[in-house]
Amino acid sequence: MSARRKIDFYALTWRLPIIVWQLVFFVGPVLFMVALSFFLVKNYRMTEAFEFVNWQRMLTRGFFWDSYWYTLFIASLSGTIAMSVAFPAAWALAFRASDTLRRWAVFLLIIPFFTSYLVRTFSWYVILAESGVLNAMLGYIGLGPFRMLNSHFGTVVGYLTLTLPLAVILQTVTMANIDKTLIEAARNLGCKPLATIWRVVLPLSKTGFIVAALFCFILAFGDFVAPFYLGGSQEPTLPILILDTTKSGQQWPRAAVVAIMMMLTLFTVAFTAIALAYRKPKGVR
């Protein structure tokens, strides 16, 4: 009927603006960056071109691949650490704490998001320095000084500053939403406490956990502050490589190559993770 063909202006009002906005200010920049990776730089000026030289140059360099694998490794490592460190705390908050206490804990964990990440990083810098707060404290009990800055340790501490609160929040919320009777049922059927975690709690919170881990990975993978200020750029990560590349002589096309490689990696990881997260258990059609 003709009524169905009529344009629904009301519906379009809510749909169109965001499409236009995101196309212009999100898809536009990302696609342009892809185009940019084929541009040339002559005398510190970018010129439009369609050459593969930037790709060839970056992808054949050892330092790019070193950075690539290092970034992948350190981001995965810190994601794993964040998830593991968060788990006992989240478990306690989800199953042992009262509702009020849990709400307060989640509220407190949101606070770090309202503080400047840079300021927190700088604070770690002072805490972890060789003559810093932590080493001074350890000194009183006759330990140290330990070298914590300008190392993988420093980088991971920085990443955790960013990801740990998120990991705890997401894990807590996920586990708090598990139907408690399922756990009681498992216990009632003779499942030991640890086995209950493994066989009941984790499978039930799979989706939430994978999403949390994915976010931890994404945040660490793209952060340049922690590896730069706390890791001392020892083995520069890809974000530092991007910064270095743009800093030195307008080499934006090459930075774009690095950025595209990062995005491809992230998409692969994200799609795999989401496929895993939403994969139905066996036997369910």
Partner: protein
């Protein structure tokens, strides 16, 4: 049973996690009142020097002004965009809905540094870079998904008959929007405004790239960290933290008082 021991251990563990999360915040506060330029242990004397310094620095004030403009505009735009998408998703099923949602939800999965690079390249090509509103454009793209998520969650709590009930009582679609959907989402809209403003207020990577000569607060912080490092960073950080927490708590209080009123 070992329940009691386990409880103590867990309490201690949770405490440790919180210590890790909060120590940088607490130490930043302490350092901001410490007289040493390069804070070390033992601490120097108590000093408000760094606060005096930032309060007297017109650049800091300009940055605060810029940040307020940027974050409030960002919050407004992102919340409108997020609301539109959340409502479209809630109300309609249409072809290409998947890509449509991806369009708004994807930006947070792309590292800021990449967004920064892409934004600057693109905006400068369009001749839109180096302005205060370049940051606003970029930030609204980055924060809209958060607005969308919050408002979508709220709509999820809404009885889907509510909107139809408004039509049924003689309200047009626009009237239903104005008198039902928007009031119902009001708490989420305020939360979204607060959260997107807070995210924007703290974002430095994209802002630093696209801002040209305009500085926002995090850019000033970044420049101090990169340059003449001193505890002004902590002073600004504390200042910003108190401001944003006040805003959040204020928003909460307004809600609680409204709730109490409507329950009496």
């Amino acid at each position: 049973m070992q329940g009691r021991g386990l409880n103590i251990a867990l309490t201690l563990y949770v405490g440790l996690v919180f210590v890790f999360i909060f120590s940088p915040i607490v130490f930043s506060l302490i350092f901001s009142f410490n007289s040493q330029r390069f804070p070390t242990i033992p601490l120097g004397g108590f000093s408000t020097e760094w606060y005096v310094k930032i309060l007297n620095d017109p650049d800091v004030w300009q940055a605060v002004r810029n940040s307020v403009i940027v974050s409030s505009s960002t919050a407004a735009i992102a919340t409108v965009l997020g609301f539109c998408t959340a409502y479209s998703d809630f109300r309609y099923n249409f072809r290409f809905k998947g890509p449509y949602l991806a369009l708004i939800l994807l930006p947070p999965t792309i590292p800021l540094i990449i967004m920064a690079l892409a934004m600057l390249a693109w905006l400068s090509r369009l001749g839109l870079s180096g302005q205060l509103w370049s940051i606003i454009l970029a930030h609204s793209v980055l924060t809209a998904p958060f607005a969308m998520a919050i408002i979508r969650l709220r709509l999820h709590q809404m009885d889907p008959d509510l909107e139809a009930a408004a039509w049924n009582l003689g309200g047009s679609e626009w009237q239903a929007m104005r008198h039902v959907i928007v009031p119902f989402c009001a708490p989420a809209i305020v939360s979204s405004l607060c959260l997107t403003a807070a995210v924007s207020f703290d974002e430095f990577a994209v802002a630093w790239f696209v801002s040209g000569l305009n500085k926002t607060v995090p850019i000033v912080i970044l420049e101090i960290v990169q340059g003449n490092i001193d505890p002004q960073v902590n002073a600004i950080g504390t200042f910003v933290f108190l401001t944003s927490m006040t805003l959040v708590i204020l928003a909460q209080l307004i809600f609680i008082s409204r709730q109490i009123k409507s329950h009496s």
